[in-house]
C-alpha cells in the first residue's frame, strides 16, 4: 500500500499509484459499523463515479452505501472480503481493501481529504 492515503467525507479511502487506485473503508468506519456481515461490490469492468454509490456494506447495526472517492473502471475486486467480511474489521487499510480502479483523474484527487484533514473531519462528526 502506498503511503499517501486520501479520504472522502463518507469514510472511504483511496491510495493512488500509477493512475491506479485501491479503495476501502476507514478504520473509523469499520469501528462505527461494528461486525461487518456482508459487502456488495461492483464487478470487474464496471465504472464507479466519484460521489456515487459503488456498493453496500452491512453490519449487525446498519447497512450503508459505499461512496466512491474517485471515478474509474474496476480492474480488480477483493473476493476475500466478500467471502470473509471480518477481514475489513481486522485490517481495513490493508487486506480489507475493496476494489482497485484505473485511470485516476488527478483533478478528482484535489477534492479529497488528507489523513490529517480526515482526522479533523472525524472529530467534527463525532462531536
Amino acid at each position: 500500500m502506498a503511503d499517501d492515503i486520501w479520504y472522502n467525507d463518507n469514510h472511504v479511502w483511496a491510495t493512488v499509484e500509477n493512475n491506479h487506485a485501491y479503495i476501502g473503508i476507514s478504520y473509523y468506519a469499520q469501528e462505527e459499523l461494528g461486525d461487518i456481515l456482508f459487502v456488495e461490490l461492483p464487478e470487474v469492468g464496471d465504472r464507479v463515479v466519484q460521489g456515487k454509490s459503488f456498493g453496500e456494506i452491512e453490519s449487525a447495526k446498519t447497512i450503508s452505501d459505499l461512496i466512491a472517492p474517485l471515478s474509474g473502471k474496476v480492474v480488480e475486486v477483493n473476493n476475500d472480503v466478500i467471502n470473509e467480511p471480518s477481514i475489513i474489521n481486522e485490517d481495513p487499510l490493508g487486506d480489507g481493501w475493496l476494489i482497485e480502479i484505473e485511470t485516476v483523474d488527478a483533478k478528482e484527487l484535489k477534492s479529497l481529504l488528507t489523513q490529517e484533514k480526515y482526522e479533523k473531519h472525524i472529530k467534527e462528526v463525532s462531536q
Binding site: E32, D35, F38, K61, I63
Partner: protein
C-alpha cells in the same frame, strides 16, 4: 428459577436414550400393513413431565409485556388487554370459513364494515382496505396503488422520495413496486423541510413516503407545504402511519394533504405483535384513489353487507380471501372499548409518558434533537463515549435490570441512537423504575464502566455472535 443453561440442554427431538426406555406408542393409523413400522429408530422418548418441564423452563426465559416494560422504540410494544383475545375466541368468529354463504357471514362483514367507518373517522381518509397482512404489506399496497395511478393516468413518473429517517421497509416497498428511490435528508431540527426537498422534486416525482410523526418522534410540521409541492408536481403523498398512536383524535391525515396511508393495527389498536404474523396493515386512501384499492372490499347494499370486487382499476388481490380477520376483530373490540374519547386519552398518555422519560433522562443521556417529540424519544451515547461505553453496552446492561432494551442504532441519522417508546400502558411507577435503571447505568459508566461493557451478567447466554448468526444460520434441526 433454576438457571441451568437450557441452551446446553437437549432439545426434545434429541431426547433419544439407549437406556431401555421406550417412546410413546404412535397411534395405529389406517394404513396398509406394508407401511406400518413397529419401531422408528431415533424416535424421541421423553416422558410427559420431561416435555412439560422443558418447555416451562424455556418459557421462564421469555420476556414479554406480561412480564414487564418493553420500551422498544418505533415498535409500540404496548400491553394488549386480554379482552381482545376473548372477543376473537367467540365461537362465531372461530368457526368462520371464508367459503361460507354470504348470508351466513353478515356479522363479520358488518364488523369489517364498521371498523372501516371508525378508521375513516379518525384518519379522515375516504376508503380503507383491511385485508393487508402486515405494515410492510400495507406499504406495498400503497406503492402499488401509486404505480397503478400513474400508469392509468399515463404520467410517466418513476421516482419516490423517502427521508433518511424512514423505516427500512419504506424504500423496500417502493422498490418492490418498481420505483426508483431517492433518499432525502432531514433538516437540522429532525424534520423534512419543504425548502430542502424542492431541489429533489421534478417531472419524474411519482410521490413521497413520509412517516408522521417520524421515527424521531417529531411531527412533520411542514407537511402541508410538502404535500402541496408534491401535488403540484403531479405526485402522490403517502404516509407511513405506523406512529398514529401519537395522533388519534388529535390530527387527521386527510387534513395534512395525505393521499394514501397505512396503519399498523398492532401498534395503534392493540392487536398482537406476532412473531411474523398474523398481522394487519390497513390502507386508507382519498376518494379519487378508491378505484385502485385491493379487492374484495366490503360494501353495504341496503341492509346487507357484501364483498365486492367491482373496482375499476383495482391493484387486485393482496391476500387470499380477506386477510387476517381475527386481528380485525381485536382492533374493532379495542376501538369499541375505548370510544373516541378513550382513544384520544391513549395518545395523550403515550405522549406524556415519553416526555416524562425525556425530561428526566436528558440530564443523563444526550438528546441529539431539541425539537419537541411526541410518543417516543431518541437519545444517543455521546455522554458515555468518553468512558468507552457505547449504546449496545447500555442496552445489554438494561437486561440485567429486568427491562427489555430500547431500539438501538435506529433511526440511522442519529449516531448511537437509543430510541425509547414507553407507550401509554405503563404506569408512572413502572416508568420510574425504568428511569431509575437508566440513571443507575449512567452512574455505573462513570465509576465502573466494565460492568456495563461486559453486560449482561444475569442471562443464560451472554452476548450472542451476531456475525455467525447472520452468516451461518442454523435454521433446521438435524440429527
Amino acid at each position: 428459577m433454576k438457571n441451568k443453561p437450557i441452551v446446553e440442554e437437549k432439545s426434545i427431538f434429541e431426547h433419544v436414550s439407549d437406556d431401555g426406555r421406550i417412546h410413546d406408542k404412535i397411534p395405529m393409523a389406517d394404513l396398509p400393513a406394508a407401511y406400518v413400522r413397529n419401531d422408528i429408530e431415533g424416535m424421541p422418548d421423553p416422558a410427559e413431565p420431561e416435555v412439560v418441564r422443558h418447555f416451562t423452563r424455556l418459557s421462564y426465559m421469555n420476556y414479554s409485556l406480561d412480564a414487564g416494560m418493553y420500551p422498544l422504540g418505533s415498535c409500540t410494544m404496548k400491553y394488549n388487554p386480554k379482552l381482545m383475545e376473548k372477543a376473537a375466541q367467540y365461537e362465531g368468529f372461530l368457526m368462520l370459513h371464508p367459503m361460507m354463504e354470504q348470508s351466513t357471514t353478515q356479522g363479520i362483514l358488518k364488523l369489517i364494515y364498521d371498523t372501516e367507518q371508525y378508521l375513516k373517522m379518525i384518519t379522515g381518509m375516504d376508503s380503507f382496505s383491511l385485508q393487508l397482512a402486515a405494515g410492510a404489506h400495507g406499504e406495498l399496497a400503497g406503492m402499488l396503488i401509486t404505480a397503478k395511478y400513474h400508469r392509468v393516468n399515463k404520467t410517466n413518473k418513476h421516482t419516490i422520495l423517502i427521508p433518511d429517517t424512514a423505516h427500512g421497509t419504506n424504500p423496500a416497498s417502493a422498490s418492490m413496486a418498481g420505483f426508483k428511490v431517492v433518499n432525502i435528508p432531514s433538516g437540522p431540527h429532525g424534520m423534512i423541510e419543504a425548502g430542502m426537498i424542492r431541489p429533489y422534486v421534478n417531472d419524474d416525482t411519482a410521490g413521497i413516503m413520509l412517516t408522521i410523526p417520524n421515527t424521531l418522534g417529531i411531527f412533520e410540521e411542514q407537511i402541508a407545504d410538502i404535500a402541496k409541492l408534491i401535488h403540484d408536481a403531479g405526485g402522490l403523498v403517502y404516509v407511513d402511519g405506523a406512529n398514529f398512536n401519537a395522533l388519534i383524535g388529535k390530527a387527521r391525515y386527510s387534513d395534512m394533504g395525505v393521499d394514501i396511508v397505512h396503519l399498523n393495527l398492532h401498534k395503534t389498536f392493540a392487536t398482537p405483535h406476532g412473531s411474523g404474523g398474523p398481522g394487519a396493515g390497513v390502507v386508507g386512501v382519498s376518494s379519487f384513489l378508491k378505484e385502485f384499492l385491493p379487492v374484495p372490499v366490503v360494501e353495504r347494499k341496503d341492509r346487507e353487507f357484501v364483498m365486492s370486487c367491482d373496482l375499476k382499476n383495482t391493484i387486485g388481490r393482496m391476500v387470499g380471501f380477506y386477510g387476517n380477520v381475527g386481528i380485525i376483530v381485536r382492533a374493532y373490540t379495542y376501538m369499541r372499548m375505548l370510544g373516541l374519547d378513550g382513544a384520544k386519552e391513549v395518545s395523550e398518555a403515550a405522549v406524556l409518558n415519553a416526555n416524562y422519560i425525556r425530561a428526566v433522562l436528558k440530564n443523563y443521556y444526550n438528546l441529539p434533537y431539541a425539537t419537541p417529540t411526541l410518543h417516543e424519544v431518541v437519545f444517543d451515547d455521546k455522554f458515555q463515549n468518553g468512558d468507552g461505553v457505547k449504546t449496545i453496552d447500555i442496552a445489554k446492561r438494561l437486561i440485567d435490570y429486568g427491562f427489555h432494551p430500547p431500539t438501538v442504532y435506529f433511526p440511522l441519522i442519529v449516531h448511537g441512537a437509543i430510541m425509547i417508546e414507553p407507550t401509554e400502558t405503563e404506569s408512572k411507577d413502572e416508568l420510574d423504575r425504568f428511569i431509575s435503571a437508566m440513571k443507575s447505568i449512567a452512574d455505573e459508566i462513570k465509576h465502573n464502566p466494565e460492568v456495563v461493557i461486559n453486560a449482561p451478567h444475569t442471562t443464560p447466554v451472554k452476548r450472542v455472535d451476531e456475525v455467525r448468526a447472520a452468516r451461518e444460520p442454523r435454521l433446521v434441526w438435524k440429527r
